[in-house]
């Protein structure tokens, strides 16, 4: 057993519970049950937590809150739905504003039914969640070690939301580099990226059903423009970026040249594409902070 399962920190969110389950969750901390015996601590902070306890059914108002809290938790993380409302919506399932159980919004790993769920059942649920947590840790380790290869496939319009979400995470480091948070990849809206799908070919890299990288390209005249290559922070240095580049080039075999640009301070990007035989063709000053570097590579067609 690793230290992970000896120190599960819990984060509790009341979706729209009647407070019955909440009281039982807090009862676990009292002297009778004292879950701190197992190292369980109730943190108030998603960034510190390992286990996300959700009580109550999910409704239209808090679905974004739940999604947001889940995204803020550090991997590996598990979600436990406590009580019948969080499990399936319970007696509120058919209300006009209720979406159902927590699994409508975030992936739930353990369900603890009951109305209200008893403290013993909640503790049991958390202990089961520890097993899932351990498995997830191993999987993350495998992925980080490059033992799991990503599959590269064409993305569809359904992926737009996920790709945009990842794009905003991945481009944060670029924005920091130039101290400019108004760069296009960070400000793009869902409608704009959906419109891009009509004119551009999107490729995605997928591990375990999660998108970990993407790139897009389109033909302009006889040249292929490649745009917005990014890989999730946790999956970098595994060659996924290079594979995405090769794949997008292969998607446009008829092209005479492949063109792309990046910022002058993005040494890693420039290094990556130079390894793929791209040469700097010109540079252009965009504003005070950013200078664009254009890189180009001849296609097979050029002879």
């Amino acid at each position: 057993m690793s230290s992970l399962s000896k120190s599960p920190w819990i984060f509790h969110y009341d979706a729209s519970s009647c407070n019955g389950c909440d009281i039982e969750v807090l009862a676990c901390l009292t002297p009778i049950y004292d879950v701190e015996r197992f190292g369980i601590v109730n943190t108030g902070n998603p960034k510190h937590a390992d286990i996300f306890l959700i009580t109550g059914s999910v409704n239209e108002q808090n679905k974004e809150v739940i999604q947001n809290l889940y995204n803020q938790m550090a991997d590996p993380k598990v979600v436990v739905a406590v009580g019948i409302c969080a499990t399936s919506g319970g007696i509120f399932a058919e209300c006009y504003n209720v979406m159902g159980g927590a699994d409508k919004i975030v992936p739930v790993d353990v369900y603890v039914p009951g109305c209200a769920a008893r403290p013993e059942a909640i503790i049991d649920g958390v202990v089961r969640a520890l097993g899932v947590l351990e498995e997830k840790r191993k999987r993350i380790k495998e992925i980080a070690a490059g033992q799991v290869t990503a599959t590269i496939e064409r993305a569809s319009l359904d992926d737009a939301e996920k790709i945009l979400e990842l794009q905003k995470i991945a481009y944060r480091s670029e924005a920091e580099l130039y101290n400019d948070f108004s760069i296009e990849p960070l400000t793009q809206s869902l409608d704009e990226i959906k419109a891009d799908f009509a004119t551009r070919t999107f490729l995605k890299a997928v591990i375990d059903g999660n998108i970990v990288g993407a790139v897009r390209g389109y033909m302009k005249g006889t040249a292929c423009r490649i745009e917005r290559l990014f890989v999730a922070p946790g999956s970098q240095n595994q060659g996924i970026g290079t594979r995405l580049m090769r794949e997008i080039e292969a998607t446009f075999p008829e092209s005479e040249t492949y063109d792309l640009f990046t910022g002058n301070r993005s040494k890693r990007n420039i290094f990556l594409v130079k390894k793929l035989n791209y040469k700097i063709s010109r540079t252009e000053k965009v504003n005070k902070r950013v200078e664009r570097v254009y890189l180009q590579k001849a296609g097979q067609n050029r002879g």
Binding site: S2, S3, L4, K6, S7, W9, P31, D34, E36, R37, F38, G39, V41, N42, T43, G44, N45, K47, H48, D50, Q72, A74, D75, P76, R137, I140, S173, E176, G234
Partner: protein, 286 residues
């Protein structure tokens, strides 16, 4: 600086995290028993830190964790300086510098919760700084040296010369140990108002580093308490541990104070007890 002191200082750097971790574990057990609970295993703080090492590190800005690294380094430096018998004044300013790095890290993370935590941390630093300096002044007046190695080898216990300063120092020690009623900047129990205060935006390795820095800090703080009793080493160690127990008791019996009360009361107590003690010393030691 003799070879011996260098050795002690090196031992501190190596052993302090283990001692500090166990102390934190014992602290959690005693706290649990005071609340009628069983409490976690004594090694629980180590499990927590090892777990944090395995977690993903989320950042708002990459540079925030660099400040945390400096915080840890300067805390270790501060402690090493203390156990090497170094200058007490340099020790105090190194401690302040370490604290400033921690505050900068929280400001860099730019979230409202870490801002509030950072501001409260600064207020806490303002609260404890005067009496820490007065302690150094008092120790100098008695022993005629700012060096820890001279102070610790003074023939009588300093507490008999400076009881007022000691009481005032005890008051602000609660702030440094991050215990209630003065756990304003990063309480374990203030979810509703603070989230996690100054540490809100830190996760994974950075949070583990903060925890380890806290262990290092607790050890040299206890070392500082020991300076008051150094005339009688055995009794001194026992009393120092008693003081720690006393702090745990205070932690469990008081509700969190507002920052105004923290600042005003610690300055008032430092001002009255500390200054009266200093003035008395200047007459007694003429």
């Amino acid at each position: 600086m003799s070879m011996n002191l260098v050795l002690i200082s090196a031992l501190y750097v190596i052993l302090a995290p283990f001692l500090g971790g166990i102390l934190a574990g014992v602290d959690r057990i005693i706290t649990a028993r005071m609340q009628g609970r069983v409490g976690p295993p004594v090694l629980q703080p180590f499990y927590d830190v090892l777990k944090l090492m395995q977690k993903e590190t989320l950042v708002v800005r990459k540079s925030q964790n660099l400040y945390i690294l400096f915080f840890l380094i300067f805390i270790i430096f501060t402690g090493a300086l203390f156990f090497a018998g170094g200058d007490l004044l340099l020790f105090i300013f190194a401690l302040t510098l370490a604290g400033i790095f921690f505050v900068l890290a929280a400001y860099k993370a730019s979230s409202p919760y870490s801002f509030i935590g950072a501001e409260r941390e600064l207020i806490q630093m303002m609260s404890y700084e005067p009496i820490v300096l007065l302690s150094a002044v008092g120790m100098y007046m008695v022993t005629k040296s700012f060096y820890v190695c001279d102070i610790v080898s003074f023939h009588t216990s300093l507490i008999s010369y400076m009881p007022g300063i000691f009481l005032a120092f005890l008051y602000v020690l609660t702030i440094k140990f991050r215990k209630s009623p003065f756990d304003l900047s990063m309480s374990h129990h203030a979810h509703q108002e603070l989230v996690k205060g100054i540490t809100t935006e830190f996760s994974g390795r950075a949070l583990a580093m903060i925890e380890i820095a806290h262990w290092y800090e607790n050890i040299f703080l206890l070392g500082f308490v020991y300076l008051f009793f150094a005339g009688n080493p055995v009794l001194g160690v026992v009393l120092t541990l008693c003081i720690y127990f006393f702090e745990i008791l205070i932690d469990n019996t008081f509700a969190r104070a507002k920052w105004q009360l923290t600042l005003n009361s610690s300055w008032a107590i430092s001002g009255v007890l500390g200054l009266v003690n200093i003035i008395a010393l200047s007459y007694v030691l003429k």
